[in-house]
Subunit: 206 residues, 2 copies
């Protein structure tokens, strides 16, 4: 099936299911159900079954899902049953925090390249990675065939850097800068926007 | 209407609508439609109309929505037609980046208190805010009546700090630490998890 035939909003829920399954596994559960997953996630069990039905039959009527099997299947569907090398552009406070972030391991991604435009930073190391110059970025990313990048530059540099990343062959960009950037068709972009989460919670405050 | 009668998944989409409306306004649009919003967001127009219908009548059949009016209404519904003071706990690289983050302005939140346990940092300033000791945190937050906090501590401190925040009266926590923390009923928690976004995009890579 073509990758664009399934609504992106459904694809967007699969990582949330996968994370819930990882937690169930950590807690020692071997079997789960759409009902249990739904209760944990605040999503209806019918929605979960419908989402999964796009990709085949994963559970047996009445016995639920095997946590490990469903987890493996979702990893395969999401293309994260491998490790994507990730370029991180912008090594300020945020970039430094991301370079040290402990949440990537075993979830399909590893930061392997750091880029910055600040000559004082270029050539210095973060853990075992050297901060490289933006000047050679396009060539370096092309040679390494990187497809995934995280953008942690100031807002006013975000569009220019995005253009370079697209030119380099990057097709998935996670943007931390608080600004909308344009990408051509065939390139995906997602935003980390803390305010979206804060506003959702503010609804319940009085 | 009780704040819990509307599904949280609907509430979760309202900030996304609000952000899209802000962009439309920036671009000079005065009128929009569920169709246009849906196209921008990858959500069906029927879903948008259904979500908004929980809160009343905002558009006129055939003429769409007034961008500024719908924006104001959503701000009111989400309780962000005011400014919530926010405590930021953990002023490492990430906390420092958040303290400087330009995306909060005019969206309902302002970081007004910084806390850290590192004696070398306590008493130092970030912009015009002094980093305060964790020792007095509960009392300080209680006195300032803060309801919202962001957690940017290392993972192994996250649960302990969460407990203190809950004790302080905080009822909405945005957690950047890559770890699940428990909160009692009546306290909301949301997670910033870059991998969720990366996995969603990886689906489309080959």
């Amino acid at each position: 099936m073509a990758r664009t035939e399934i609504p992106d909003i459904v694809i967007g829920r699969l990582p949330v299911y996968l994370r819930a399954l990882a937690r169930l596994e950590q807690e020692g559960h071997e079997i789960t159900s759409s009902h249990e997953l739904g209760k944990r996630l605040g999503i209806s069990s019918a929605q979960i079954r419908k989402d999964l039905s796009h990709f085949g039959e994963f559970g047996k009527q009445g016995t639920g899902y095997t946590v490990a099997t469903l987890s493996t299947e979702l990893q395969r569907i999401l293309n994260v049953n491998r490790e994507w090398q990730v370029a991180l552009v912008g090594v300020g406070d945020l970039g430094r925090a991301l370079a040290h972030y402990g949440g990537f391991a075993h979830r399909g991604f590893r930061i392997t390249h750091l880029f910055d435009s600040d000559v004082a930073k270029i050539g210095t190391m973060i853990d075992n990675l050297e901060i490289q110059s933006m000047t050679g970025m396009v060539e370096t990313i092309q040679q390494a065939r990187l497809k995934v990048a995280m953008l942690a530059t100031p807002a006013d540099a975000a569009q220019e850097v995005t253009n370079l990343l697209v030119e380099s062959g990057v097709r998935a960009i996670l943007n931390y800068a608080p600004i909308v950037v344009r990408v051509p068709d065939g390139v995906r972009i997602q935003y980390i926007d803390p305010v979206i989460h804060l506003q959702r919670m503010a609804y319940y405050l009085d």
